[in-house]
């Protein structure tokens, strides 16, 4: 879509924005998991590393989902006619950074913090600037 509709020189910017927005959207799953986990937390605390293990499992699920989507996008773009090798590396780099951002957005302190949503938005914006600077 980027190659056919947009200008090729803007494609890197589109990719970065798309990756960051996807990471921010997927980070919403952390909150859904956190809310679903609340009634269980006391029960989990009675088990060895119970809360930590469930937290790790939630991270694995969300990062696995994000990684799978990223790989599918990368493979899809690679298989598309007229894909440029330059954009492939931009896409790979942006997907990697967006996964890092996704992992950061899942930090338990951000889920619990009063201004967690604002911190998440600031982190996402900072990641977008960093991606642009790295390309």
């Amino acid at each position: 879509m980027i190659c056919q509709v947009g200008k090729r020189q803007d494609a890197a910017g589109f990719i970065e924005v798309a990756c960051v927005v996807s990471a921010y959207a997927l980070a919403g799953l952390y909150h859904a998991f956190w809310r679903a986990r609340q009634p269980l937390e006391p029960y989990l605390r009675s088990m060895p590393f119970g809360v930590a293990k469930v937290l790790a499992a939630e991270h694995l699920v969300i990062l696995g989902l994000g990684g799978s989507i990223g790989i599918l996008v990368w493979l899809g773009y690679r298989a598309a006619p007229g894909s440029s090798p330059d954009l492939l590396s931009v896409l790979a780099c942006s997907l990697g950074l967006s996964l890092l951002l996704l992992a950061l957005l899942g930090a338990p302190v951000l889920q619990r913090h009063r201004y967690g949503a604002a911190f998440k938005a600031a982190l996402t914006f900072a990641a977008l600037i960093l991606m642009g600077a790295l390309q």
Binding site: L40, P42, Y43, R45, S46, M47, P48, K53, V54
Partner: protein, 205 residues
């Protein structure tokens, strides 16, 4: 007698009201019934002994391991809360496997599932189960894996007569080598399990 569960100088207060102060307890193997009027602090005490809440003073030792240090104490205990807590989307089988993975223990024997009458509900989702069936899954999760110390909060609440009879057999069978400590208002349960009674005094409002 080897002490399986020890509480030393436990202290807890809520909003200026003292729930426990300098409470000392020591239990070896056996069945112990925690009784007391509503609000006496039975669930609070069980939550402290299970490591769910941290005491404001004192410490709890499970099989010689301090609950506040390391995970050895938690590995030796199983807690059955009064409320049936699980993800609604999980099936009974998935819940038991989750608890098994988290506690690092063996799964439930078929006899345990059949005794509680939940073998037929393994594939049902928690959100679709009755309160009694949920409670039975919580009990099976607590009794599987042969934990040295089993703590149960109102274990007979909501379960049918057959499951209650099976639970009584389980408590009696385990009491020889394990500690089964449960809170209850059910005097028949205490008599049928032959449990020692630990009565918490009523608190002033």
């Amino acid at each position: 007698m080897t002490m399986l569960l020890t509480a030393e100088g436990l202290g807890m207060r809520y909003g200026g009201q003292v729930v426990f102060e300098d409470l000392h307890l020591a239990f070896g193997a056996g069945a112990v019934a925690l009784v007391g009027s509503n609000g006496a602090g039975k669930s609070t005490l069980l939550a402290l002994l299970a490591g769910v809440d941290a005491p404001q003073a004192g410490r709890v030792l499970v099989c010689g391991h301090d609950l506040a240090r390391g995970q050895g104490a938690r590995a030796a205990l199983a807690w059955v809360p009064d409320a049936s807590v699980a993800y609604d989307f999980m099936t009974g089988d998935e819940f038991l496997r989750m608890v098994q993975a988290l506690r690092g223990c063996a799964g439930p024997h078929r006899a345990l599932l059949e005794g509680f009458g939940i073998a037929a509900h393994l594939g049902a989702r928690f959100g679709d189960m009755s309160l009694g069936t949920r409670k039975k899954f919580m009990l099976a999760a607590g009794l599987m894996g042969d934990a040295q110390v089993v703590l149960m909060d109102e274990p007979t609440n909501g379960i049918d007569a057959d499951a209650r009879a099976f639970l009584i057999d389980q408590i009696k069978a385990r009491a020889y080598e394990h500690l089964v400590l449960f809170s209850t208002h059910d005097r028949d349960l205490i008599a049928l399990t032959g449990a020692r009674v630990l009565e918490l005094p009523a608190r002033d409002a």
